[in-house]
């Protein structure tokens, strides 16, 4: 015990001015590579992208590049396809998040109590999460294809569809294709996160409650849910942003079609940039999406602050 101060003293005496400077800059040396990468590959392009929103930049037109002010935003205001994609984004995000969360929560509860074979069951049900997104999109597109997939035949047999047709080419149903793929792929994420939260609930609370005569439902609503609430709130809110931005499945499965019925804002941005090579307009749409997401994130931060205080 008594030797500890002695060591510290001698360690302090060794601090030459040079060493002190080194100690002060040390953390920055450790974070420098990360900061450099993020700045050069994400922040600089972000700023440049924002400037494109006010310029006429089309890759195929060598004479483009001029400053055009708010022209893109004026076009955007009257662009029916854009407004349509906003509405689709809401449907896509809401349906995906709600279904992923509901199925994920039930799965987490099922996996929470030990049972023989839990390890293997857990590995199997979490497997979709490891499937590359482009592949899960293609895989579900094939399942919905009446030529090779069973789903249209099964749905027709159950009376959900009047004939075994591909829902991806039916404008009124097409959105459910990417949503199904997204739910399948995303359940494990919620299940994993909620399972970790469930496992951090002290077991003796449950024991005390059941001694006091609380049934399973009471225990769930009075103990489990309040304990999970912060995790649920943060996960759902963050996931909402992530899914609203998630264009891969739509690009792979429907490319926004048929008749733009599955076009969400982020796939619309990608289509403008990748297929029409209209970088200016794509950036203007992106800027609107960014502002909406920033507003949403601001609400999240306020909520989080309120929750932390409680």
């Amino acid at each position: 015990m008594t030797t500890v101060p002695l060591y510290e003293e001698s360690a302090h005496r060794k601090h030459t001015p040079w060493r002190r400077i080194m100690l002060a800059v040390e953390p920055y040396i450790y974070i420098a590579p990360s900061v450099l990468l993020i700045t050069m590959i994400m922040l600089v392009p972000l700023v440049i992208g924002l400037s494109y929103a006010f310029r006429d930049i089309q890759l195929i037109n060598p004479f483009s590049g001029g400053f055009i002010g708010l022209e893109h935003f004026r076009t955007l205001w009257t662009d029916a396809a854009f407004w349509h994609s906003m509405k689709n984004t809401l449907v896509w995000t809401f349906a995906s998040v709600v279904l992923q969360f509901a199925f994920g929560l039930v799965l987490a509860l099922l996996l929470n109590n030990p049972f023989p074979g839990r390890g293997i069951v857990q590995a199997l049900v979490f497997l979709p999460w490891a499937v590359p997104t482009f592949l899960s999109g293609l895989n579900w597109a094939w399942l919905f294809n009446p030529v090779v997939g069973p789903l249209p035949h099964w749905m027709a047999a159950l009376g959900i569809l009047s004939a075994p047709e591909n829902i991806l080419s039916d404008p009124s149903l097409a959105m459910w294709g990417p949503i199904a793929a997204n739910v399948w792929w995303g359940i494990p994420f919620f299940a994993i996160t909620l399972l970790a939260a469930l496992q951090s609930i002290p077991q003796d609370i449950y024991e005390a409650a059941s001694i006091d005569g609380a049934g399973p439902w009471r225990r769930f609503t009075d103990i489990t849910l309040p304990f999970l609430a912060p995790t649920i709130a943060i996960t759902v809110l963050l996931r909402t942003v992530w899914i609203a931005n998630f264009a891969d499945l739509i690009i792979v499965m429907t490319n926004g079609g048929p008749a733009d019925q599955t076009q969400i804002v982020s796939s619309y941005i990608f289509t403008q940039a990748f297929r029409r090579l209209d970088f200016g307009y794509a950036s203007a749409v992106a800027m609107v999406l960014l502002i909406l997401l920033l507003a949403y994130s601001f609400v999240i931060i306020l909520l989080r602050q309120a929750m932390l205080k409680r």
Binding site: I38, F126, F134, D248, A273
Partner: protein, 279 residues
Amino acid sequence: MKSSAYSRSYRFLHYGLLAFYVIFALFPLYWLLKVSVTPNDLLYSEGIRLWPSRPSLAHYTFVLAHSDFPLFFKNSVIVSGSTAVLVTLVAALSGYAMSRFDFRGKMWLVGLMLVTQMFPLVMLVAPIFKLFSPLGLTNSLTGLVIVYTAFNVPFATFLMQSFFDGIPKDLEEAAMIDGASRFRAFQQIILPLTLPGVAATLGFVFTAAWSELLFALMLVSKAGASTFPVGLLSFVSKFSVDFGQMMAAGVLALIPACLFFLLIQRYLVQGLTAGAVKG
């Protein structure tokens, strides 16, 4: 008596629901495998049979011997492997700094990293293309590695930080009192203890880079530098009737991701929470 009947029906419900989840999770992958081993002449006649009457590996032989998929596979392994190693190195350093140091601007750094997780990466597609093309980084695997590395560093930093947080500070403090520099203590004492974290980070990043599609589509247009997703997608749009071959290629794309998943499976619950919910 009553409680045992209750617990039996409860257990029945429990296993029944779990069986539903297992089937739901595995069925699409099973179907992928099934069509990939169905010979073309049976594809239409045995459309919804659960297993072909005469399975064959012909599609795999074709894909491996007569298509560009082995090249796409190699490109994807190079890109994902390099990205995973680079990200892990960079994120180990910054994760360590976040876990051990209090420094001016730390809150800003956390904020910056969180913002990068929130904003739509798709809006960087156009500017990155514009920046990279004069540098010769389009149509090149290096360009993809740079982009993927930057995109994955924030999440990997949070992940590594959570693993470092689990290791007592006394360990490197003792080593430093004995005269080791902090970097030596980090390298020789702390890093070996976080090997599970390093493995998890490698796995996460590899899988993420293996799956990335949009930037690969935008930045690479020549077949020679295509990654697997781009190769598969262009195959699908060109030969959309060769279902057997497409699905055989799909199964190949699944292999590395599943291998990594099995490796990191144990750390999933711990790792994802730390990385994803921390913000």
